[in-house]
C-alpha cells in the first residue's frame, strides 16, 4: 500500500520536475509563467520528500522488519492502518491547492517566512494542514517501528545481531519522533502569523524571520538523514549478498549510523551560512558539518571492503547498490565542499546545491529503494522479475540521472542561481543537456512500473532464497511470504 502510494507520488512529483526541466530547456519563458514555475518547484520538492521517499521507506519497513526479526507482523496494526490512510488525505489536500484561487504554495519546499506567511498565497493554510496530517502519520509510523523492533524480536536476536536495515530504521524512527514535532511547531507558528495576527516571523511586528530558518533546519537536516539511513541499511544487505561475503565491519556500521544521527542535530545552520550568523556560530557549524563526513566515509569504506575479494555478480539489485555507493559518494564530496563555509558563499542557492542534493537523494534514496525493491520482489510476489528489463531500467536510469544532474555542478559554479524560471545565455548549453537527461530518467521510470506489474502477475516462481549469497531470516520462509509469517518465533543463535 505504502509502496503503491509512494510510486504514484514519485510519478506525480516527477512529472512536475519534467515541467520544470521543459521550461529550463531553453532561455526565455516558453511553457509556463514564473508564478506557476514556482508552484511546480515547491510541489515537486514537497511531494518527492514527503510523498515519495518517506512513505516508500515506511512501506519497506512494514514489509521487511517483521520478516527480518522473526515477528508475525508489525506490533500495532491498527495504528499502521491509520498512519497509512492519513497520507492520501494529506496529499489530496496538498494537490488540491493547485486548483485553488491564487494557486498552490509557491515559496519553495523550505517555505521561508515571510514569503510564505505575509506574502504567501491563500492556499498556505491548507498546505499547513496537509503538513500536520502527514507529520502525524510519520510519527505513528515511527512509533510502530520502534515498538515492533523492541518487542517482537525473535529469541536470541540481541541488538547487535539485528540486521542493519532494522538498525537503520530504528535510528530513523527516533529521528522522526524527535523532529516531526518541530516541523509541526514551525508550521503552527506560521498558521498563527497568517490567521491570528501573531508576529513570530514578521519583523514589522517585532518578530524574527531568521528564527523561522533556525527552527525549520533543526527539523530539516535530520530530515535528510531520515531519507537516507534506511537506504544505507538496505544496501548493507545487498552488497554482501552479491559479493558472497559477509558485511565488513558490522559494528562500525552501526556506530557510524548512530554518529551520523547524533551529529545531524548540530549541523542545521550549514544551510544558513549567508544569513549573517555570528562568526563563532559560523565556525561551529562548519566544523560540525565537516565532522559528519567521517562516519559517512567509514560507511563507504566498509562497503568497498565488503566487495573487495568477494565473488561478485551483478544482478539488478547489485547494480543499483553499486551505483548507490559511487554516486552517493560523489554527492558526499560536494557536501563536503558545501561544508567549507567560505566556499559555500559561492555555492549557496545555486545549481551546485541542486546537483549536490540530487546526487544524494536520487542515487541515495531512490536507487536505494529500487535496489531494495528488486532484492525483495521475489520474496513479496513469489515470482522472479525480468532480469533483462531490470538491467535496462538500471542503465537508462544511471545514464539519465548523470546526464541530468552532473552538468548542474557546472551551472552552479558558473553562477546560475536555483529556483529561477529563466536564465542568462551562458547557461544555455548545460541546461539543455540536463533537460535531455531528465526526460530520459523520467521516461525510464515507467519501465519500472511495467517490470513490477509483470512480476506480480506471473513469472518464473521464486525459491525461498533466490539469491545465492543472501543472509537473514526473511530467506528462511517460502516466497511469497505467508501472512503472519512467524507465528512461532524462530530461534537465532
Amino acid at each position: 500500500m505504502y509502496l503503491v502510494f509512494s510510486f504514484t507520488m514519485f510519478l506525480l512529483g516527477g512529472s512536475m520536475a519534467m515541467v520544470i526541466r521543459a521550461e529550463l530547456f531553453q532561455p526565455g519563458l516558453q511553457i509556463v509563467q514564473p508564478e506557476f514555475f514556482n508552484q511546480m518547484t515547491t510541489m515537486h520538492g514537497l511531494i518527492m520528500v514527503f510523498g515519495a521517499v518517506m512513505p516508500a521507506f515506511v512501506g519497506l519497513a512494514n514489509w521487511m522488519i517483521p520478516l527480518m526479526i522473526g515477528a508475525p507482523d508489525m506490533a500495532l496494526p491498527r495504528m499502521n492502518n491509520w498512519s497509512f490512510w492519513l497520507l492520501p488525505c494529506a496529499f489530496l489536500i496538498l494537490v488540491s491547492t493547485l486548483f485553488m484561487e491564487g494557486g498552490a504554495p509557491n515559496f519553495g519546499w523550505t517555505f521561508y517566512a515571510p514569503l510564505s506567511t505575509t506574502y504567501g498565497p491563500p492556499s498556505t493554510t491548507f498546505f499547513i494542514f496537509a503538513i500536520h496530517i502527514m507529520g502525524i502519520s510519520s510519527i505513528m509510523g515511527a512509533i510502530n517501528v520502534i515498538a515492533t523492533i523492541l518487542n517482537l524480536r525473535a529469541p536470541g536476536m540481541t541488538l547487535m545481531k539485528m540486521p542493519l536495515f532494522v538498525w537503520t530504521w530504528l535510528i530513523t524512527a527516533f529521528l522522526l519522533i524527535a523532529v516531526m514535532p518541530v516541523l509541526a511547531g514551525v508550521v503552527t507558528m506560521m498558521l498563527m502569523d497568517i490567521n491570528f495576527g501573531t508576529s513570530f516571523f514578521d519583523a514589522s511586528g517585532g518578530g524574527d524571520p531568521v528564527l523561522f530558518q533556525h527552527v525549520f533546519w533543526f527539523f530539516g537536516h535530520p530530515e535528510v538523514y531520515i531519507m537516507i539511513l534506511p537506504a544505507f541499511g538496505a544496501i548493507s544487505h545487498i552488497i554482501p549478498a552479491f559479493s558472497r561475503k559477509p558485511l565488513f565491519g558490522y559494528a562500525s556500521m552501526v556506530y557510524a549510523v548512530g554518529a551520523i544521527a547524533l551529529l545531524s542535530f548540530i549541523v542545521w545552520a550549514h544551510h544558513m551560512f549567508t544569513v549573517g550568523v555570528p562568526l563563532a556560530g559560523q565556525l561551529f557549524f562548519m566544523y560540525a558539518t565537516m565532522l559528519i563526513a567521517v562516519p559517512t566515509g567509514v560507511k563507504v569504506f566498509n562497503w568497498v571492503a565488503t566487495m573487495f575479494r568477494g565473488s561478485l555478480s551483478f544482478e539488478a539489485p547489485m547494480l543499483f547498490a553499486v551505483a548507490f555507493v559511487i554516486l552517493f559518494t560523489i554527492g558526499g564530496f560536494s557536501g563536503l565542499m558545501l561544508a567549507i563555509a567560505p566556499s559555500d558563499f559561492q555555492y549557496h542557492d545555486t545549481y551546485f546545491v541542486v546537483a549536490h542534493f540530487h546526487y544524494v537523494l536520487v542515487p541515495g534514496a531512490i536507487f536505494g529503494i529500487f535496489a531494495a525493491a528488486y532484492f525483495w520482489l521475489p520474496k513479496w510476489t513469489g515470482h522472479m522479475y525480468d532480469e533483462a528489463l531490470a538491467k535496462t531500467h538500471f542503465w537508462l536510469s544511471f545514464i539519465g540521472m548523470n546526464l541530468a544532474f552532473f552538468p548542474m555542478h557546472f551551472l552552479g559554479l558558473a553562477g546560475m542561481p536555483r529556483r529561477i524560471p529563466d536564465y542568462a545565455l551562458q547557461f544555455a548549453d548545460f541546461n539543455m543537456i540536463s533537460s535531455i537527461g531528465a526526460f530520459m530518467f523520467g521516461a525510464t521510470q515507467l519501465l519500472f512500473l511495467l517490470i513490477v506489474v509483470r512480476c506480480v502477475r506471473g513469472g518464473e516462481p521464486a525459491p525461498a532464497k533466490p539469491w545465492e549469497g543472501a543472509e537473514g531470516l526473511e530467506w528462511t520462509v517460502p516466497s511469497p511470504a505467508p501472512y503472519h509469517t512467524f507465528s512461532t518465533p524462530p530461534e537465532v543463535k
Binding site: 532561455p27 526565455g28 519563458l29 516558453q30 514564473p34 508564478e35 514556482n38 491564487g102 521561508y112 515571510p114 514569503l115 505575509t118 506574502y119 491563500p122 519583523a203 514589522s204 524571520p209 558472497r244 561475503k245 565491519g249 558490522y250 559494528a251 549567508t274 544569513v275 549573517g276 562568526l279 562548519m286 565537516m290 563526513a293 567521517v294 569504506f301 568497498v304 571492503a305 566487495m307 573487495f308 575479494r309 568477494g310 565473488s311 561478485l312 555478480s313 559511487i326 560523489i330 564530496f333 565542499m337 567549507i340 563555509a341 567560505p342 566556499s343 558563499f345 549557496h348 542557492d349 545555486t350 555542478h409 558558473a414 553562477g415 542561481p417 529556483r419 524560471p421 542568462a424 545565455l425
Partner: protein, 374 residues
Amino acid sequence: MRVHAQRAGALFGGLAVPAVSLADWTMNMRPGVTSTSNEIFSLHMTILWICVAIGVVVFGVMFWSIFAHRKSQGHKPANFHENTVVEILWTIIPFVILVAMAIPATATLVKMYDTSESELDIRVTGYQWKWQYQYVDQDFGYFSTLATPRDQIANRQRKGEHYLLEVDNPLVIPVGRKVRLLLTANDVIHSWWVPEFGVKKDAIPGFINEAWVRVEEPGVYRGQCTELCGKDHGFMPVVVRAVPEPEFQTWLAEQKAAAEKERELTQKDWTLEELMARGEKTYQTTCAACHQPDGRGVPPAFPALRGSPIATGDLAAHMDIVVHGKSGTAMQAFGSQLSEVDLAAVITYERNAWGNSTGDMVTPKQILDFKNQQ
C-alpha cells in the same frame, strides 16, 4: 592481471579527464576580482582536488574488485569481515585531512567577517523585485531594476548579450576602496550576490547584514538575487560598475546635480500629455512586474488596475495606496521610492490608460500637498 591493470588504467583516465577540464572557466568557478573571491577560489580548488584524490583511491579499489573479483571469472570469496586497525585508520585519516582543510577555511572566514575600517558605506535594500542603493554619507540613492525588454523574455525578440543580467542603474563603486554594504530588505528575504566579488549575503527585513568588498580592477560585474523572493526572483539582477576614483567623483557630482534637477521639476507646470508619457515609463519600470504592462494584473495576487474601482474612482484613495502602499501586501509604499513627479505621472497614467478614461490629471504639487497633509 595485465589486462585488468590496463582496464583499470583506462578507467582512471576516463575519470581524471573531466576533472582536469573542470579548470575550464565555463565549468568551474571563476577566481574573481577581490582578495576574498581569490581565497575562496583556492579553497574550492584545494577541496576539489582532495575529493578527486580520495575518489580515485576509493573508486580504484572498488573497480579493481568489480573487474577482478567477479564470480563469472571464477573468483572465490574471501571470508574476512572485521579489522579494528583498519576501521580506526580510516576514521583518523579523513579526520586529519578535514582538520588540514578547516585551518585555511577558518582564516578566510575571519577575513570575510571583518567589515571594520570601511571607506564608503552603501545601504542595499531588496524589494520585490529590484534593488535600492543608498550612498549613506552622500545622502542620495536610487533603484536598480531589470533592463531586459519583455519582448526578449517572451521570445518575440532576439536575446541580447547580457540577457537578464542588465539593469537600468547599476551600482557604482570606486576601485581600490573598501566598500561596506549594509544589506536589508523591505518585504521578503532577498540575497545579494556578485560571484566575482565572492560576496553573497542575505537581505532580510528587519535586519541589517554587513559585507565588504574591495575591487582591484575596473569593470562591470554581474550577479543575481539568490534567495527565492516570489514571482520575479529570477528577474532581479545585480550589476556593479567599478570605476577609478576620479571617475567615481565625477559620477557622484552628476548624480547629485540630477537629483537637484528632479526636485525642480516638481515646480514645473505639466500638461496631461507630458505626464502620460512620463507615467507610462514609470509604470513599465516600477509597476508592471505586478500589475502587468496592460494593467490586467495577475489576480488574485496582484489586482487589475484596468477598470479597478480605485484607479477609476476616488482620487484620494488612489494617491493613498500608491504613496503609502498597503501594509502586509506586496503593494509597497511608493511615496518614499519615487519622486513627486513620477508619482503624479504614474497616477495620471493609471487613471487614463487602458480605457480608464477619468480624464483626471494629478500634478506633482498635488502629490506634495497630499504628502504634507499627513
